[in-house]
Point group: C2
Chain length 249, copies 2
């Protein structure tokens, strides 16, 4: 590997900064781990010692690299980072999909990935243009959830539909004609929740693509924060699918 650079989306590798995200990367995507970077001050940390031992056991070289850590994280107190190879995920057949149409904010995307793992939405489709899902700020906000998910990118929503035909789509729209409670109560697999961009939402034509779903609120705000809306949506569908599964037992 050449000299490690500050992250740029054109690089074939990225960084999972922080002890927890780096550990998640090693645990859930060991074949993608290239190198573990540790800060000299991390020597006193049990967590860092454990991570170093686990990395060496997995054949991942660990090295002390204070300056690289400061450069790639922009922080003085980043104690560890995993250098990992970027890779497109392969969707599984059974999990519901979260489809993110032009997500623009790194913190929101990371938070949505973390929530998706929490509610079993293991297949995440990102429709470009979008914030880079391998940006270290995304990985930090996700707490490394992406390494346990199947994250795939598509050049357009049409490309996603061609790759994954026959799914029941639930586009979340402020003007949706169906409330979230109604939509979730009739949820059918295979399903995809579709969330729009932070500033612009989904284009109006998405209302004809499935069950346009609305999260009722007081009307005293323009909209919910995207990551909050996605969390409420995934929670409602995950709860409904779980209840359905329990009824069938």
């Amino acid at each position: 590997m050449p000299k490690l650079e500050a992250y740029d989306k054109s690089l074939p590798y990225s960084y999972a900064p922080g002890l927890f995200p780096a550990t998640e990367c090693l645990r859930n995507a060991p074949e993608r781990c290239l190198r573990l970077l540790l800060h000299s001050r991390s020597a006193e940390s049990e967590g860092a010692a454990g991570l170093r031992a686990a990395a060496e056991l997995a054949g991942v070289r660990a090295e002390t690299a204070d300056r690289v850590l400061a450069r790639i994280s922009g922080k003085e107190n980043c104690f560890a980072a995993m250098v990992y190879r970027k890779e497109e995920g392969a969707f599984d057949e059974t999990s519901p999909h979260l489809v993110l149409h032009h997500p623009g904010d790194a913190g929101n995307l990371g938070t949505m990935l973390r929530t998706a793992l929490g509610f079993g939405f293991l297949n995440v489709a990102i429709i470009r243009p979008a914030v880079d899902s391998d940006d270290p700020r995304v990985t930090r906000a996700s707490m490394g959830a992406a390494f346990s998910l199947h994250v795939r990118h598509f050049a357009s929503f049409e490309e996603y539909e061609r790759a994954c035909p026959g799914r029941r789509l639930y586009p979340f729209m402020l003007t949706g004609s169906v409330t979230l409670a109604q939509a979730a109560a009739q949820a059918q697999m295979p399903l995809s929740l579709v969330m729009g961009n932070e500033a612009t939402g989904l284009p109006e034509e998405f209302a004809r693509k499935g069950v346009p779903t609305r999260i009722p609120h007081s009307g005293r705000i323009d909209s919910l924060n995207l990551a909050v809306a996605a969390g409420i949506g995934m929670h409602a569908f995950a709860s409904a699918l779980r209840e359905r599964a329990q009824e069938q037992i």
Copy 2:
């Protein structure tokens, strides 16, 4: 007013940065507005012109202040900010409470305020120590929601309980014995949702303070993001209370 300084929590005033938050401040808390700051480049913006006219109608002086805007926002492209007087809110009698125990992150706090306004949790109690709710980063993330809420601070949870006795408390805890669905189904007013700190959650003794509530998830994440968890909780309780009210009609 003396020379405007970069924001510091000891100041009796703060800034609502951005056209939308500044407009919300003027609309919902006009008596607290001290001065409207506009960037010279905002002259071409219809939104800024409308805000200037509304401010002058309300007797709030508007002035062009490029350097002050850059200093207080830390950004070059902040086109407007309202200087406003800080003030403790007075709780209303009818709205449910959102109680935030030691919130530590400005973005999360702002997002939770925005969500609280969306779901009718108009009374927000903040238990100190906590991130400053008048920090401009909070106001920016909240889209100015705080100006439509009653935000009160307490030195301890006990002080909150003394000020607001006899409420049904729902502390959100990873170890909660009651699922969110069960808790919301039996929701009774007056109620308070209680959310802990990002890193540490609520202390264990909160389990004995009411109905310890758990948001079920896959167990593949440590916890949900705080603002996401608060959003899921407020949505569930708001939906249950709305259904209850409709049944009574």
